[in-house]
């Protein structure tokens, strides 16, 4: 069962969310501040972090950056939709997804599950995915993608990709050259409804590009198709 670290300053929300998640079988550690959460993190080794943005002391963005600097575990922000700036900054800080407060327990659960789902198969089965046995490491230019091992390397170096970045790259590279709209990517990679927040996609593409591209400003791997969306390659 996933271990969840909840960092939330409001006691009632903390208790409510903890209760809801425990009922669903999660192990939950709750921290009332960013500092406390960072202290708990190494010992508790959560599978996922739920992070409130409005925190006393170190705010959510900073906590997010600090966690990202060392670990590639999924981070979901708790926010209010339309606090637009928060969402954008949170995504830039490396969050994988966000949940709008107030949220029902089942929504929390669904989001956590979606982020934790490790493999992202493209909608139509690809030959690579259909082949039995260990999948070979695919190489695209300098990029080496090991689908089974969930490892992406560039020039012999393993890249530290956050979960959403990894899923996005795997999804796009499964069908090189095919264009996906941001709405499609939201549904496929983030498992949001079609009308989710396309900024999730944009922010994630940006972060991914800074890690895999030689020059993020003129991307080679994850390309923009103006007016339609994104595609992987063609190289």
């Amino acid at each position: 069962m996933p271990r969840v670290l909840l960092i939330e300053d409001d006691a009632a929300v903390r208790d409510g969310v903890t209760l809801a998640l425990r009922r669903r079988g999660h192990e939950v550690a709750a921290a009332a501040s960013g500092e406390e959460g960072l202290k708990v993190l190494p010992g508790f080794r959560p599978d996922i972090v739920l992070l409130d943005l409005m925190l006393p002391g170190k705010d959510g963005f900073e906590v997010c950056r600090l966690i990202r600097a060392e670990r590639q575990l999924p981070i979901i922000m708790l926010t209010a939709r339309g606090d637009d700036l928060d969402v954008v900054l949170g995504l830039e800080a490396g969050a994988d997804d966000y949940i709008v407060k107030p949220a029902r327990g089942e929504v929390l659960e669904a989001r956590i599950r979606a982020v934790l789902r490790r493999t992202a198969l493209p909608a139509e089965g690809t030959p690579a995915a259909a082949e039995p046995g260990p999948a070979p490491v695919e190489t695209y230019g300098e990029l080496a993608i090991d689908r089974a091992g969930l490892v992406v390397g560039k020039g012999g170096q393993d890249l530290a990709l956050a979960p959403s970045e990894m899923k996005l790259l795997l999804f796009l590279s499964a069908t090189p050259g095919q264009v996906f709209s941001r709405q499609q990517l939201l549904e496929q990679v983030w498992e949001h409804s079609y009308h989710g927040d396309a900024r999730l996609v944009d922010a994630c593409v940006m972060r991914l590009r800074t890690k895999i591209e030689d020059t993020p400003r003129s991307p080679r791997y994850v390309q923009t198709v103006r007016g339609f969306g994104y595609r992987f390659g063609p190289l």
Binding site: L19, R23, R104, G105, S181, Y194, D202, R217, S218, T224
Partner: protein
Amino acid sequence: MKRPRRWAALPRLGRGNPQLLRGLRARLVVGFLVVAAVSALTTTLLTYQEARNAILQRSQDIAVNDLRAQVNSLAPELPVPPTKADLESFRSQLERSGTSRAWDISVHYRGVGNRSSGGLPPHFVFPAGLRESVEKRHVPVFQRVARDGSPSLLIGMPVRQTDGTASALSVYARLPLDAEEGNVEALVSAAQRGALPVLVLTVIPALLAARGVLRPVRGLRQAAGRIAEGKLDTRLEVKGADELADLSRTFNDMAARLEESMAELRRLESNARRFAADVSHELRTPLAAMSAVTDVLDEDADSLDPDTASAVRLISQETGKLARMVEDLMEVSRFDAGAAALHLDEVDVAETIRKTLQARAWQKRVATDLPADVRARLDPRRLDVVVANLVGNALHHGGEPVRVRLHAPEPGADRLLIEISDSGPGIDPEVLPHVFERFYKADSARARSEGSGLGLAIAMENVRLHGGVMRAANSPEGGAVFTVDLPLRQGETPTRAAEGAADPPDGDRAAGETADGDRDGAGPEAGKENHV
């Protein structure tokens, strides 16, 4: 979102020059001229009268005294009774003695004039009154007359005997007054000649005075215009201590008051807005705690006793409603604060609408007419809110079947039309203008509906944010028809940023995407937000 209300521009006041007789300047000049003309005329008239009187008075005094002196010196030599020859010599002597003046003399004895070659023409008749005074009452008389256009002085003088008694002899003289009249004429024409330059010169001080009045008035007009444009910090410079300075001072006081009350209103409005936003924000935290545990309640309700179970379900259900309402309130606050942002994307409109219906499991209940390949650039999340609100509204308050129709725009047209119609009784015409108002309940007696009462208002704001309009009407076949009318390509004519809406921190990103990729590696239009 309420935009800061603009002041309607007032019609410009007339510019004053074409209305020759109605402008202040013209009126002042005319007034000055009238005053000057009246005073010049009065002066001329008085001068004329006084001068004429003085000149004639003097002439006649001299003439009368002369005549009296001559008569007194010559009469004693006249025998009594005189013969015609005596009278004639007396007359001619008198005529000759008039050195300074050419008078014509006529001598009457017992009321009868002597007919003679010299002197007055025989047909010359002295006025009866004059002769009566002389011959009956024996007093010297003179009278000015104008005959044949030339003025003259008539003098009648009874000759007294040496003992002072009246005699039957009387002398009449006529003096032409042409010279005097000429003098007076000269005076009058001098006055006239003087009056004209005076009138011309009057225009100069009139114009100066007008300018002195008009400049502050013009300043006042411009300042009033600026106030009308909403520049409430406009003030006039107060110079001097006359009425215009008072007016300027009063104007400044008025502007200051106006500015104060506007600032006060704005402050109150922004306080009210902030209050609404703060309230919704504060409500969110407890709601977040409650919403997280409602499904725990729902799950366990079945194992509780019926009353508790109902109570628990009620709490769960109403918590959900409350959460939706607070979400709507926050959305409205964002619109009001001008903080609502468009996140534009290129979408297939038909697909977007289909997904909206799918997400709410309405595909079965709603008939659709969605032509493929209508691509538009808009905010799909906001379009989803709009369509969901209208369709939900049609299902709840209208009547099935509900139909969503997308009108494929004509080639070259840039409007997107989405029509949502129901088969209900339609909307009461009195209600129609108010359907998009917040918390407007069509029927106050109607039970509280599912929604927050903000649904249509929010839909409206979302359409407006796209630079579109929303219309509500009743179709001829019955049932209500809501029409969403949007520009097809959003963001290519950037909408005006509202005051107070901060630019997104990454607003420069992807603003100029190149054909391949974009400026700093952002996705399509990443972070590009049109604040409205």
